[in-house]
């Protein structure tokens, strides 16, 4: 016969002491994670803020310069009369341009694909696999693949465009087309988002569709009045993840533009400039300031999304 034993607090221990004992035990169990978090995350985050106020080449002692790094980045007068570091602003522009293309593009395409994949047709599993496969390809491999696809002379895309009488651009050499090309490549890898949408779609109660059908709603009305409202929490989740992801994109442009952003720095993303400052120009303080500005931008946009979510995100049962 199995017996269970529970350790009891020594006699005479007060309630408060018992509570503290429990807290102590809890903390002891949490301590490996807490220690790791404090040493490997919290401390570097704190230090990076301090370094953002310093001139800090990694091999030298940091010299405190106050807000000088922020001043240089944001409002110091440039030789042309404009304000701030022109390369910084260019990288902000490039990153936002990409986010504006890739984020809504990714959300719409993945939603559309998820709806198609939700239709019961023969070979459904095969289609789902095909859509998901690109997410398994490492970024380096997919970047190399897309570099060939985008090749102006020999690439498949321009060859197909030529077949229909269109002259394809120099996707990776034209300042106009570089960011859209990267956005297209990103949208190709939306398999993960599609899976999340699929899960959301399957969570929509069937009764709602039945009720809508009884009320005479057609396919579009069901989509607009049932599916989309019920999916808004999932869309919201993907939006937040998308904001964070697109503003921090690094590996694909690093590979496809050789790290220098290509022609006229048209693909010089925020993270590329941050990386260059930290690890190539030895300006760790400047890079830290950039990292904090990026954090603030992401926080602001996420906050905005949360604020607006009250108006368009519908949770079941509310």
């Amino acid at each position: 016969m199995a017996t269970t034993t529970t350790k009891t607090a020594p006699a005479g221990m007060t309630e408060r002491a018992k509570e503290w004992q429990q807290v102590g035990r809890g903390l002891a169990f949490l301590s490996p994670w807490l220690l790791g978090f404090c040493l490997l995350t919290l401390l570097p985050v704190g230090l990076s803020f301090y370094y953002s106020l310093c001139d800090y080449p990694p091999l030298k002692k940091p010299v405190f310069v106050g807000l000088d790094n922020y001043r240089q980045l944001l409002w110091e007068q440039d030789v042309t009369g404009s304000r701030g570091d022109p390369i910084f602003w260019k990288s902000v522009y490039v990153t936002f341009k990409y986010a504006v293309l890739a984020l809504p593009g990714g959300l719409f395409v993945s939603l559309g694909l998820a709806m198609l994949l939700n239709v019961r047709v023969p070979g459904q599993a095969v289609y789902r696999t095909i859509i998901f496969i690109p997410t398994l390809v490492p970024t380096i491999a997919s970047a190399m693949l897309w570099m060939w696809l985008f090749n102006a002379k020999l690439g498949l895309i321009n060859t197909l465009l030529a077949r229909i009488g269109l002259e394809g651009p120099g996707w990776l050499t034209s300042p106009t087309w570089l960011v859209p090309a990267l956005a297209i490549m990103t949208i190709w890898g939306v398999g993960n988002t599609v899976i999340i949408y699929l899960a959301g779609l399957q969570d929509v109660p069937k009764e709602l569709y039945e009720a809508a059908e009884i009320d005479g709603a057609g396919v579009w009305r069901r989509l607009w009045h049932v599916t989309l409202p019920m999916l808004t929490p999932v869309i919201f989740f993907n939006l937040i993840m998308g904001i964070i992801g697109t503003l921090q994109v690094f590996d694909a442009p690093m590979i496809m533009t050789n790290g220098n952003g290509g022609t006229d720095r048209a693909g010089y993303f925020y993270t590329l400039y941050l990386y260059d400052n930290a690890f190539r120009y030895e300006k760790m303080g400047y890079a830290s300031a950039m990292a904090w500005i990026l954090l603030l931008i992401i926080l602001a946009l996420t906050g905005l999304a949360f604020w607006s979510s009250k108006k368009w995100v519908h949770y079941q049962g509310k």
């Binding site: 002692k61 010299v63 310069v65 990776l172 022609t263 006229d264 260059d276």
Partner: protein
């Protein structure tokens, strides 16, 4: 029974501790006998990080192996060789963390940057002990190894940059392959003759099928174009950027002139089409799409690897027969070179009589003549050739070079990061690499010229690059130039590179204006670097004074 759990736990913990304390140890990749020597305190392990991977990395590995088997064995030093990527960043981070390698094989671009950050050990005194002094290297290389007068690096392999051109295409358009262009004006004329373009009804170029020359193909040295015009980016004495000097403006206007002549769209379409294919059979110089390129000593290696037929030009027969003919020629050349070396040794030997010396002198002359004839045949088998890159012409006579044999001399270096554990032992290896015979072996394997003042005839005769004398002569030139000693060179290089690319693609303001803006921006960055360096130095001096 309640004590079973604590007892088991204690036993388990004790076993773990015992295993940690007395358990088997990994040898850290060291051979057993070396590990034994280390344990006995007889062998010092020197960690050497090198950027080369692949074949070049393996070839350096051979040198390391030779050292470990000879000098290392004798002096109790074992080089632990690690070929790693992104070595510049890793070395810097490891140095900052206080655990640097003993030797770091980095690029010339890092010498100023790392020295200014106090990341490297100065080498003047220790190098002098080994007889490595300024005259030991060709001037441009010695200068490149120093920062503000102090030696911080020694060379592993160097290179110079030359004009590489396709002799077959020269023949096709009626140009003499033995008379490459000597001035920029001549280069432009040749390029126009070699261009194959398509035009619309109004005569505008709509498509480039082949180009004689394009400044951005591959454009690896585009930042340095000003030097071929007699200008420079930076004045190291005054720490001033000099990008608006007339030669610099002329250089950038020349870069732009190609796009103006060929049309921005055609140039961009052409560039898009050829892609970024240096290490590929699609390399436009190898496919004959670009007839002349600015490239370094290493190009010969890539030609042999990617398009060997360019090294078997005008050789009759099947591919196998061509290979056999080339191998036979190289075998005979090596034989002559070896015989020549042996004769020289015997002639110089103390016991050799005068009569024998005279006999050997005649034999030496004959072998030399034969060897150089074979060398010429080796060169004639090349569809390509190399010549000093043309420089600006004299104002009164644009087809007469105004600058004698200018070139960009780049190099890979061996450095000792500050705070390493085994400086002296590390330098023993660096000195070994800098021995003439070792340096020549490595440079020959890597298809590079020698940085040393003394170059053996055998090195030149047996070198895999058929035009090695051209590169060697360029390195000796007083107009050879290296990376400007700017402590923020990486940033400057990026900025000037983008500026040159924009100028080439006619993006942004005209060259004079664009250079003026870039000069002011970069000057501000250079000034800021030195200002902050001064603050830091003052603080360090104050802290040191306080410590005393």
């Amino acid at each position: 029974m309640h004590y079973i759990k604590p007892v088991l736990l204690t036993v388990f913990l004790l076993a773990m501790l015992a295993l940690l304390a007395f358990g088997p140890r990994g040898t850290g990749g060291l051979p057993k006998e070396v590990q034994a020597g280390v344990d006995q305190g007889k062998i010092t392990v020197v960690t050497y990080w090198e950027k080369w991977t692949g074949k070049e990395g393996e070839q350096m590995g051979e040198i390391v192996k030779d050292f470990n088997a000879t000098v290392g064995k004798e002096k109790g030093i074992f080089i632990k060789y690690l070929s790693i990527s992104e070595i510049d960043k890793k070395t810097l981070i490891a140095t900052a963390a206080g655990v640097p390698p003993d030797i770091a094989g980095v690029w010339d671009t890092q010498v100023s940057q790392f020295s200014a950050l106090n990341a490297l050990e100065p080498l003047d005194d220790i190098a002098a002990e080994y007889g490595i002094k300024p005259g030991y290297y060709k001037g441009v290389y010695w200068k490149g190894c120093t920062y503000e007068g102090t030696l911080y690096a020694l060379i592993s392999t160097p290179a110079t940059v030359a004009l590489h051109y396709n002799k077959r295409l020269f023949n096709e358009v009626g140009l003499d392959p033995d008379k490459p262009p000597r001035t920029i004006r001549e280069l432009d004329d040749y390029a126009a003759k070699l261009d194959v373009v398509q035009r619309d009804a109004r005569g505008n170029i709509t498509r480039i099928d082949r180009t004689g020359y394009l400044p951005l193909e591959p454009g690896w040295f585009i930042q340095h174009t000003g030097y071929w015009f007699g200008g420079s980016l930076y004045d190291e004495k005054s720490h001033q950027m000099t990008m608006t000097s007339p030669p610099m403006v002329a250089a950038f206007e020349w870069i732009r002139s190609y796009t103006e002549r060929l049309g921005p769209k055609s140039v961009m379409d052409f560039k898009s089409g050829i892609g970024n294919n240096f290490d590929s059979p699609q390399n436009p110089f190898l496919t004959g799409t670009v007839a002349m390129v600015q490239q370094g000593t290493w190009m010969a290696n890539y030609i042999e690897k990617l398009k060997p037929s360019m090294n078997r030009w005008n050789v009759p027969g099947t591919q196998a027969e061509q290979n056999a003919a080339r191998e036979d020629l190289l075998r005979r050349l090596n034989e002559r070179a070896t015989q020549l070396a042996a004769v020289k040794v015997e002639r110089a030997a103390a016991g050799t009589t005068d009569a024998r010396r005279a006999e050997l002198a005649a034999k030496e002359e004959e072998l030399r003549r034969e060897a150089w004839v074979l060398r010429k045949q080796f060169r004639d088998m090349c569809e390509w050739a190399a010549a000093p890159f043309p420089s600006v012409g004299k104002p009164e006579s644009p087809y007469e070079p105004a600058i004698d044999t200018p070139t960009h001399a780049g190099f890979d270096v061996l450095t000792i990061p500050r705070g390493c554990k085994n400086k002296r032992q590390a330098f023993e290896f660096i000195a070994y690499v800098n021995r003439q015979e070792v340096m020549e072996k490595l440079c020959s394997l890597h298809c590079k010229n020698s940085p040393l003042t003394k170059v053996s005839e055998e090195f030149l005769l047996t070198h895999p690059n058929a035009y090695i004398e051209v590169f060697d002569k360029m390195a000796e030139s007083k107009n050879a130039f290296g990376i400007p000693p700017i402590p923020i060179w990486t940033e400057v290089s990026d900025e000037v590179g983008i500026l040159a690319a924009n100028t080439y693609q006619m993006i942004g303001p005209p060259p004079r204006e664009a250079l003026a803006i870039a000069e002011k921006r970069l000057q501000r960055k250079v000034d800021r670097f030195f200002d902050r360096q001064a603050i830091r130095d003052r603080e360090e001096a104050a802290a040191a004074a306080k410590g005393k």
